[in-house]
Symmetry: C2
Subunit: 371 residues, 2 copies
């Protein structure tokens, strides 16, 4: 009787030991360099998993929505950074939160600064989002005039303390070598230090620097002159991180266990119950395959153990509820309708969001804010 | 005071009139040709919306999971086709369902036929899934030997009636002209009729034919010699369907209303609260843009009205919680932090799954099985 004998439909299996090890490694690395560790909780979204962080002394966290901040505040966290450009329409929740916890908000529009400052009564921290090349959101790092304008607005506000510069160097995900990831990290930090310096010259002191992507957090040895590190994905990792050389396959701490519903030996293909609504549509490359949606292995006898050699195939397509797995070397005898395969997700954060709860290796459910 | 004044975060807005019109159009078309209409409820997943179908006389439905079948059975539907290769691990639920309703199951592996036949006691219908070119799942149409073997297994089973052949010509989504979609449809039907003929020669009679994609259902004028049509997406449509020429923009019946959180006039870009967890990562092309994640318009004064000219931009990137909208002609004055934009999703089915409930134009919540 293993954990697998109780699984009947797509199930997000979590190996707590792996996740705790991943956490300890990053925590020790960040602390050993004297940096503040403010992990991003959008990856796991779970109060119970949050306790693993509390147990090792972590007291400050990052989240990506106001709902997530409220959820973790309700579970005892009292120093929360909502690393998302503030949505002023949720002013009531923000006001409420600002009275309960030490709240940090992210700004990239001066009108949002004015609105928030006008409507709250407690002191909060205000951070400026800088785009150092990820090209997602934030103020462009070469537009100092706009950055200075925002800093000025924060500085003159009554209730918001201009606290620092934040970036998410998400472009580190696009690179494959340690040298490239180092170079992205060093470039991002250098850019932020340059802006910090210019702001200092304008008289704004105590500007901290916060950075946050998992590849850099794992691979960069010297974090340089930053104050805070905020990765999230490192807790579970996934195939995107594995493919980028950030983690080993055996460090991936979550897998989606999926029932086999049909086997087609003529095509070396297996149809599984497990689709876009479980794994999301995020993809990864795999050898010559441009778009795969996960790597596939077989359940292990005693829980969960595998290495690169145990990857037997990849998900070549993903519909709403089902996926098609290619097993290039032929279908093992144990794969029959009603058997199970393990799918390592392309992107663990979106997979957690899609399934909304975990099953640990003892068969217990670990809830998230979604379940 | 419009519906928009009460929206504070990403909200799936549903125009009931549009959806009912889309439904009436397809229903009349299918009935006028004397075909059985068995709509796919995986698109809306809502008992309340299901009532709109009941009101116009629809009694048979398609779903994509056993949970969905149970949900709709609990809401009074008693003739349900689970158009998903049967997951034998859920035998208890299948057994239970088979006692309550007229149940149809999909098979593409003879071992699943044997298992189900052995474990149930009531009569159910068994359909064979044929891949007519979509290349997702099903038995390859040119492997008649395997199809005949499955038909034989169904025929000799005690509790499963060999009922017919089913295909989802999902490759119709890849084509852009009406001629191409006609050609895909005609090819699929011809293939199924050929297999039906061969099975008849083997002595299997009463083999029905069921087809189901939205592009063909909408665009093909003569459904030919099929028995049943099972589209789902036609109820709401989306940008993928619009781009494929299947629907008009004004027929899209759902939009995700998203708060603006930052405006960057220098880049003609707007950051919105609305990401992969609301819209899914499905994408569409838009002019020269290969991967856009939705089209963007502004809310209308009196509810919801727009046409092609009112599309002001597209979503160029999608993170977990936020998206970046490009507005090529410059940002309209009304777009400021705290204002709202409407995002037409690339794929409405996955968007419904992600958000899990609707708000209608009167501000009322319409629940799904997920909420």
């Amino acid at each position: 009787m293993t954990i697998f004998s109780s699984i009947q439909k797509p199930t997000l299996l979590l190996d707590e030991n792996k996740a705790r090890k991943n956490l300890a490694l990053i925590n020790e690395k960040i602390l050993s360099q004297g940096k503040q560790f403010r992990p991003h909780f959008k990856t796991h979204q779970s109060a119970e998993i949050g306790e693993w962080f509390q147990e090792i002394g972590i007291t400050k966290i990052t989240v990506s929505s106001i709902e997530m901040a409220i959820y973790f505040a309700d579970h005892g966290w009292d120093d929360i950074f909502i690393a998302f450009p503030v949505n002023i329409l949720q002013i009531e929740e923000i006001l409420e939160l600002s009275k309960r916890i030490k709240l940090s908000l992210l700004f990239e529009d001066i009108r949002a600064v004015r609105f928030i400052d006008k409507h709250i009564s407690c002191q909060i921290s205000g951070w400026i989002k800088i785009d150092t090349g990820a090209n997602r959101c934030g103020l462009k790092s070469d537009q100092f005039e706009i950055i200075a304008e925002l800093a000025n607005e924060l500085e003159k506000s009554k209730h918001i303390t201009l606290s620092g510069l934040i970036t998410h160097a998400g472009h580190s995900y696009r690179f494959k070598t340690i040298e490239e990831i180092h170079s992205v990290y060093d470039g991002s930090v250098k850019t932020l230090l340059g802006i910090q310096d210019q702001l200092n010259q304008l008289g704004y002191s105590k500007i901290e620097i916060s950075v946050g992507d998992t590849p850099s957090s794992r691979l960069v040895n010297d974090f340089g002159n930053v104050d805070e590190i905020r990765p999230g994905n490192f807790l579970f990792y996934d195939v995107q991180q594995y493919q980028a050389g950030v983690c080993k396959l055996e460090e991936i701490a979550v897998t989606v266990v999926c029932p086999v519903v049909a086997v087609h030996p003529e095509q070396n293909e297996v149809v599984i119950y497990g689709g876009a609504i479980h794994l999301s549509k995020d993809s990864h490359s795999w050898g010559e395959i441009q778009n795969a949606f996960g790597l596939v292995s077989l359940p292990a006898q005693n829980g969960w153990s595998w290495d690169d050699k145990k990857i037997i195939g990849y998900l070549r397509s993903l519909s709403q509820e089902h996926g098609v797995v290619v097993i290039p070397d032929g279908i093992p005898d144990e794969i029959i309708p009603g058997s199970l395969v393990c799918v390592f997700p392309a992107h663990s954060c979106l997979t957690v969001q899609a399934i909304g709860k975990y099953t640990n290796l003892d068969g217990e459910t670990i809830h998230t804010m979604l379940s």
